[in-house]
């Protein structure tokens, strides 16, 4: 952050002591003696005002603002937004959100595991282990040879050597999981997740690299990661972003672009914690999230679900309870039939 008042020791000694003293004794406008240092109220104000000026300084521009580039990015985002809107339940057309049947996913994962096994069977020393989280078994955790942990969501799979190489720790991965990677500066940890690579030093994050979806999203909790797209022909890095905690890296499969978002999707860990939190969220978004989380389709007969806003938290509740709550709040009649919920 460069030179700031934070580094000025003399300043600190003065101001800190004066604030402490003025707190303990009664406040007065003429200042108080505090042993060997006498700081008048005016002087304290001056020091505090200096700090205020320092702390409210506008951010410095790192490079000129490129409006044309921003407009290009903007159009991508607008397209993505329109696309995701269209996918959702529209009362008039009556199509439900279709989800890849769980069975297909398990089959794909099994085939991946098999492929991984056959591919690596004839390699030199390390033996490769593949773990896939089966459906309806909840979250499965895997401990890697270096102590790192991977919490696999249903349908996800990870392949890793029984002993890591000397210069790197490399694994391949598909699906969605939460990673806790132990720190080891000498050996970067690399995750190959299809078209996307992630390189970490020691950190924790959620990575959603499900083959059926059109985005790969990494939500970084702690540490630092490098998130990049890979050229399928030579395995080189194409586009990369460095992420800090609280940021997300997004790769769009359709455009091939890598982007950084400065926040994480509020419910992205719902699959692990079971907690869904909504804060003034439009109902169409709510239903979309519930759909993905509970593996059911929703049909809502309200003409403008986006106008209804929900503020609620569901802590590991069964779908029936959630439907009941929503129905109660908005005056719907909820009707559950197998994997379709209708709200009238």
């Amino acid at each position: 952050m460069g030179l700031s008042l934070m580094n000025d020791m003399l300043f600190w000694t003065k101001i800190y002591k004066s604030v402490q003293v003025n707190r303990l004794t009664a406040k007065s406008s003429s200042g108080k003696r505090n042993g060997d240092r006498f700081v008048s109220s005016e002087e304290q104000h001056e020091l505090l005002d200096k700090m205020i000026a320092d702390l409210t300084r506008p951010a410095v521009s790192s490079q000129p603002i490129n409006t044309d580039h921003a407009w290009a990015v903007m159009q991508q985002k607008m397209q993505a937004q329109d696309a995701s809107k269209r996918k959702f339940v529209m009362p008039s057309s009556g199509n439900e959100v279709r989800l890849m049947p769980a069975l297909l996913r398990v089959a794909a994962v099994f085939i991946l595991a098999l492929a991984a096994y056959f591919m690596f069977r004839y390699e030199a020393s390390p033996e490769y282990i593949s773990v896939a989280a089966e459906s309806n078994m909840g979250v499965q955790s895997v401990e890697l040879p270096d102590g790192s942990k991977v919490y696999l969501r249903e349908g996800a799979s990870v392949t890793y050597p029984d002993v890591f190489a000397d210069d790197e720790r490399r694994i391949t991965f598909e699906g969605e999981a939460f990673f806790e990677i132990t720190a080891d500066p000498s050996k970067p940890f690399r995750i190959m997740a299809g078209p996307v690579g992630v390189e970490v030093l020691g950190t924790s994050f959620n990575l959603d690299a499900c083959p059926g979806k059109d985005q790969v999203v990494l939500s970084l909790h702690t540490g630092q990661v490098l998130f990049y797209s890979i050229d399928p022909e030579n395995g080189e890095i194409l586009e990369k972003v460095m992420l800090k905690p609280g940021q997300s890296g997004i790769y769009s499969c359709s455009s091939g672009l890598v982007q950084r978002a400065l926040i994480m999707e509020p419910n992205h860990l719902a699959w692990k914690s079971g907690v869904l939190e909504f804060n003034d969220t439009p109902l169409d978004e709510v239903l979309q999230l519930l759909s993905e989380h509970y593996n059911v389709a929703f049909r809502c007969e309200h003409p403008a679900p986006g106008d209804l806003k929900l503020t609620a938290t569901f802590d590991n509740e069964p779908i029936a309870t959630v439907v009941e709550s929503i129905s109660l709040i908005f005056g719907f009649e909820g009707c559950e039939a197998d994997t379709l919920v209708t709200l009238k």
């Binding site: 000026a53 790192s62 407009w71 806790e180 990677i181 132990t182 924790s204 702690t222 926040i263």
Partner: protein
């Protein structure tokens, strides 16, 4: 409201992509620069402004602009920035809520703050000032206007300006005093 502003607003609410592009090119850079007063990096500012425009496009048919488009956009940027800053804070609380542990925590125990946190807290405090007071503070602090210039611009008396500035500073000093003992810097100086 002048004719051009009216045309832009009408085009926007109609969902005219051409007009939307015009508005974007006209206001993107100045809004980002403005937003940088309230956040700590250009990246954050650009991200916030882009999110704003995205929302604008998404809800174009539900917009109601009764002042100028410019005033509307600047107000929206402030609201989004405030929301973003507050959300950063709750992110830390959220992590604790899901019981999330890691071996690799940054060397910052729970109860101390860092310079970044202080900047965020102060900027939230500025953004949260009552509307008129914030305006006066902004004009003085960020645009360097003198009190009589501010009085003229906002059509109020110089006395009112002085009053508002005093109150603004009193409040900000109080916020600072509250957080000073928690600063990580302080604990290293005195331990």
């Amino acid at each position: 409201m002048d004719n051009d502003q009216l045309r832009l607003i009408q085009g926007l609410t109609r969902g005219d992509k051409q007009v939307f592009g015009e508005i974007f090119h006209l206001y993107y850079a100045p809004l980002c620069t403005y937003c940088m007063r309230f956040v700590n990096s250009q990246e954050e500012a650009e991200e916030i402004v882009q999110t704003l425009f995205l929302k604008l496009w998404s809800k174009h048919d539900q917009l109601f602009v009764n002042t100028s488009l410019q005033a509307y956009l600047y107000r929206a940027v402030r609201n989004y920035a405030l929301n973003y800053l507050k959300q950063l804070k709750t992110h830390k609380e959220f992590e604790q809520y899901i019981g999330f542990q890691t071996k690799d925590r940054a060397t910052n125990p729970d109860n101390t703050l860092e310079e970044n946190d202080m900047q965020r807290i102060m900027k939230i405090a500025v953004l949260s000032l009552p509307e008129k007071r914030r305006e006066v503070f902004e004009l003085s602090r960020f645009e360097g206007l003198k009190n009589h210039e501010i009085a003229q611009k906002l059509n109020i008396s110089v006395k009112t300006v002085e009053n508002q500035m005093t109150k603004a500073f009193e409040h900000l000093r109080e916020v600072l005093r509250d957080y000073l003992p928690l600063l990580a810097m302080v604990s290293t100086v005195f331990t």
